[in-house]
Symmetry: C2
Subunit: 235 residues, 2 copies
């Protein structure tokens, strides 16, 4: 049975790393003594070790140990044997490139579909969709494909940001960018605001957190979904 948390962000303004999610994670990973951390997205270019240390400190507070996938000789074995998996945020192009280079994209997808509890934040959430084509990140490396884990039948836009009405900036708003995506793709896109997450238990997908999420579907006006909305049939 699938058991997945897909969070818009790891960190809320003026909070510590993963702080707002900690009670949820305690329950989510309750059968795990240790989890595997995938630090490939390397936010700000920090090292795999530094990033893993950051995750380790937080999970220590709920008595779960953390080991980075880069510490294993064989990343495939690391995934197959993991009690739980957490993919942190950073740059999605880098993360996806590494998952393909290590030849673990498909294995990670199958493993999570088969029930290994998974947590993704930001870039680690982006990869849960059908493709990474609705990421906000800069294409700092060239991945061999934009296809991702496909744990859900739609795409995500984490850190979803409403347009600032008073802005004089002429660059595209987030909504305009997603509209451009839908000029060429029919996949629905869920804009997850910071503080929102998706909880997946088996085939049930539920919007969690205090905020609404914005749903974009091709050739339709966007709609707002309330917390606790059921997204199981979105595709």
């Amino acid at each position: 049975m699938k058991k997945i948390i897909i969070a818009s962000t790891s960190t809320l303004h003026e909070e510590r790393y993963l702080e707002y999610l900690l009670p949820v994670l305690e329950s989510h990973f309750k059968n795990c003594k240790s989890i595997l951390f995938i630090p490939y997205a390397r936010p700000g270019g920090i090292s795999h070790d530094e990033y893993t240390q950051k995750a380790t400190e937080v999970f220590l507070s709920i008595n779960i140990s953390v080991k980075g996938i880069h510490e294993f000789e064989n990343p495939e074995t690391a995934i197959k044997e993991a009690e739980g998996i957490f993919t942190g945020g950073g740059n999605t192009f880098l993360l996806v490139s590494q998952l393909y280079r290590k030849n673990i994209m498909q294995l990670l997808s199958e493993t999570v579909k088969n029930g290994t509890p998974y947590l993704g934040t930001s870039a680690g959430s982006n990869i849960c969709g059908l493709s990474m084509q609705t990421t906000n990140d800069m294409p700092i490396v060239y991945p061999p494909s934009f296809q991702t884990l496909g744990l859900i039948s739609f795409n995500l836009n984490p850190h979803y940001l409403d347009a600032a009405l008073e802005s004089k900036h002429m660059g595209e708003t987030r909504e305009e960018r997603i509209h451009e995506f839908h000029a060429f793709n029919s996949v629905p896109v869920l804009g997850l605001r910071e503080g929102s997450w998706l909880e997946i238990k088996g085939e049930k997908i539920t919007l969690k957190g205090n905020l609404s999420a914005r749903l974009f579907q091709q050739n339709q006006l966007p709609t707002e979904l309330d917390p606790e909305s059921d997204l199981s049939n979105l595709n």
Copy 2:
């Protein structure tokens, strides 16, 4: 002799399309009765015809006719025979994909390097750098490569936006994204604010407009460059 205008944006807040650049363009294209428009970036998913019409209306006011590259049977011939070339903004992934699909990326680069006057705005400016890897756009299509025209020896970040200090949003700032680019790439990046442009005459590259530009170089602190700065030796 190279003759190139690379503009951060086509449009300033509360101005009409290309309005602020019009006196510059009148001089830039003074030997052209007509120019070739490349509408492939299709902002907001509008059609090639609609986009070309928008450019046509503006250039009409300075007595220059416009023909879209999509109106030609052979895009290679269109580029070779063009008196001047203008690539409009929109989505850089889409633009680059189309230039490769039509097999004209290299021809366009050679043609502009050989002296055909060129104007790029936004996505049409992004492609003037060594790669499109510092675009702000969403990866709505998968291009066969991120390499671009290489008309200059550095990369651009058009619509450069300073971080909003009061923001509670936890997504990366533009500066943080460029910093991540430099964790993996040594190419300098020039953040061009809206209203700024580069003027290239032969090998001379000059920053134009009223605003400073922000220069990012690997392993160095960013610096601000004043208008009229000479960027000819940046690489």
